[in-house]
Symmetry: C2
């Protein structure tokens, strides 16, 4: 053992190695990447006993800390979940490699030929919480798209993450690839994250995945660009010209099918001309499904006082639970205004048979994904046909909405001339 190095130096070393490995990897072909992904999938299965042993350590610690059942479920691995991770890596083999593809090309009057070509972003840092499968997914997505990746998982899953990471990183050496392409910050010291977020000279982008407080912390500390969403306060607006059966199905699905996720509905808006016909049946259906309603005064009147009153704070809250705010609006302008003011610019839907209303809603709702006559629950890389997902962005820069391989690329301009100089 050499002399003890500081945390700062350790994190710097990890980032510098990642960048060096990235710069050395430009010659990687799609065929080679796919062979490595196949070996990674195999490595997970081969190492499954070691991974399960490591996971049991994390579970024991979480149980001792009396963490809730949902937390333990997210943290737990079993053979089936490990097979799921391996399948995801294999699935990446079938997706096209975005790096190197031509976006557009044109010739200038002076003869210069300009090609705008997709390239990997470079070094991607992922800061995440609890679910160990994120480790394998992010390694696979970053590797396939040609990026080096630096992972920093939560301390609650440390042993699980390290064992998955070791299995996958082990494949690199056997394929003659630089180990720096896949990096993990092994320290549970929170200062390691602070140091990592200063290294804008080595890391090109940070993607935080987890609760809002984690993401706010990353944004406030980072000198590196961050792609993120804080939360999903998603709306369904039931228009006066809606098919009310369709509206009931969509609203029920958006709220109840999986309430703990960012694309679930948190507020339902109803046009005043539809409220009396729509709300009584809809509220009964929600109540039967144990959804607690918090309503505006008109909603409460229609429900004969059977629902609690909604506050301004309710309209800004991501419940992630079987709770729903309901508000009756005077017209589509009020609905759009409410969504842009109280929402999180994630996913919002209108149910209507009116073309004009649909067009206005699509244009004026300032969100990543805007739906006409469909559930907000479709905001997802798999559901959009991207084959995978590294996260969802409510930012407007670089990537917005579901992100997968293409969103892990940048571009460069390749310019060919025959001696052109500037006059």
């Amino acid at each position: 053992m050499g002399k003890k190095i500081s945390l700062k130096q350790e994190v710097l070393g990890i980032a510098a190695q990642a960048q060096e490995a990235y710069r050395g990897s430009f010659g990687l072909t799609a065929g080679k990447k796919n062979r490595v992904l196949a070996r990674m999938a195999g490595a997970l299965l081969k190492e499954k006993n070691a991974i399960l042993r490591a996971n049991r350590k994390d579970i024991a610690k979480a149980k001792a800390a009396k963490m809730p059942a949902a937390f333990l479920d997210r943290l737990s691995l079993d053979e089936k979940r490990i097979r799921g991770m391996a399948d995801s890596l294999s699935a990446l083999m079938r997706l096209p490699d975005p790096a190197g593809t031509l976006i557009k090309s044109w010739r200038r009057p002076n003869g210069l030929m300009i090609r705008k070509v997709r390239v990997p972003i470079g070094v991607v840092a992922i800061i995440y919480e609890s679910r160990p499968n994120v480790t394998a997914d992010c390694i696979g997505l970053c590797f396939k798209s040609g990026n080096a990746v630096i992972l920093r998982g939560g301390s609650e899953a440390l042993h699980s993450n390290l064992s998955i990471y070791s299995a996958l990183k082990g494949v690199l050496a056997g394929e003659g690839l630089a180990p720096g392409l896949i990096q993990m910050v092994p320290s549970v010291d929170r200062k390691a994250v602070d140091e990592l977020l200063k290294l804008d000279a080595y890391i090109d982008v940070v993607i935080p995945r987890g609760g809002e407080s984690l993401i706010r912390k990353v944004v406030s500390l980072s000198r590196i660009p961050v792609i993120k969403h804080y939360k999903g306060i998603c709306h369904v607006y039931v228009d006066a010209e809606a098919d009310l059966n369709m509206a009931e199905n969509i609203c029920f699905n958006a709220k109840v099918q999986r309430p703990g996720v960012c694309n679930a509905m948190e507020t339902m808006l109803v046009h005043k001309d539809a409220a009396a016909r729509f709300l009584p049946g809809m509220i009964k259906k929600f109540t039967d499904a144990h959804v607690q309603i918090r309503g505006c005064p008109i909603t409460r009147k229609i429900s004969k006082g059977a629902v609690k009153a909604a506050t301004q704070e309710d309209y800004r809250t991501e419940y992630l639970a079987l709770i729903l705010s309901v508000k009756v609006v005077g017209d589509i302008t009020e609905a759009i205004g409410h969504i842009n003011r109280y929402g999180s610019h994630h996913s919002d839907a209108i149910v209507t048979d009116g073309d004009l209303q649909a067009q206005r809603f699509l244009r004026e709702v300032d969100s990543a994904c805007v739906y006409v006559n469909a559930s907000t629950r479709f905001t997802d890389g798999y559901e959009f046909g991207m084959g995978a997902e590294i996260g969802i962005s409510t930012d407007k820069l670089h990537a917005r909405g579901p992100m997968a391989l293409e969103e892990l690329t940048s571009y460069k301009y390749e310019v060919r001339g025959n001696g052109q100089v500037r006059r």
Copy 2:
């Protein structure tokens, strides 16, 4: 006069008005935008005396502070420069409006129709120094692309910027548009910038334009995503298989044609097999043009000690002047390694007749713009055929290289269904 509001409240008010104006502007057609641009061009000409009066105040202050001649030149306006600003606004009318255009669309097996559509980013803040024409250019580019803009110019050009801003903003009211679409932070207090950079709830992106210290300050303070380039340390690599006449023309152009700009060459790399044939003539040509050379040991030997020695620090320096580092390299691998290590990932060129070397250079040099057999001086929105330029990015996220109207857009997903819910 009401009660005095704090700087913090003033800046918050400016940003909130910009966002509200942006959200109210989704119905703006391309025709309407172009009519407004025409009136803006007219307003500059109509107000030219007021603008020149304001500019004289800034010039008097700069002269009193004994600012250098180049500074005074950048700051100065005359009738011709005002006409140039008006012409730039008129030129924007002829460029296509990127907002609302379809990027791609596809149908999912469940019948959902997904359209990925360009939209304005939202609220764009520009923090810039000295040249007053930036005020008109940025207002025009942001307006044409459908964004609200918040300008914060340098104190040295305060009067000039305010007069240009007033003339252009005055057009909005006459066209029934919200005045918040074009905003300026009128305070010269530096704390105003600090406050502005905290407002990530209202501002979507910050583009700093100016010296490296300004840009570093913005990046270190901002909670809002920043698109930027710190500097341009651009290289030309003369390969062993280069046409040496072409190489001489390109290198001379890249260094001498306009040495004070970010796409000028700062370091020339020469393959060892070309050095003895190429360097003596090239160095004489540079020396005749008053370029001071700082060379590696081989360069110094070839020039018989007539040039100064280059240090490691020289290879990391953006001279922005008639100074050039010259280094002889053993092969293309060393050239690419040098560029990726010491460069600023802006613009780099190879001169070669060898296809393999050209391909390797294009692929492995990790820069926004990579050239084969052309001068680095072409990295520019106009030269690339974009018709305008709001800046150049060496970032890899969102926009890389020259940025114009399309780079001032984001996208959203518009999804149409007929009742689809998630299973």
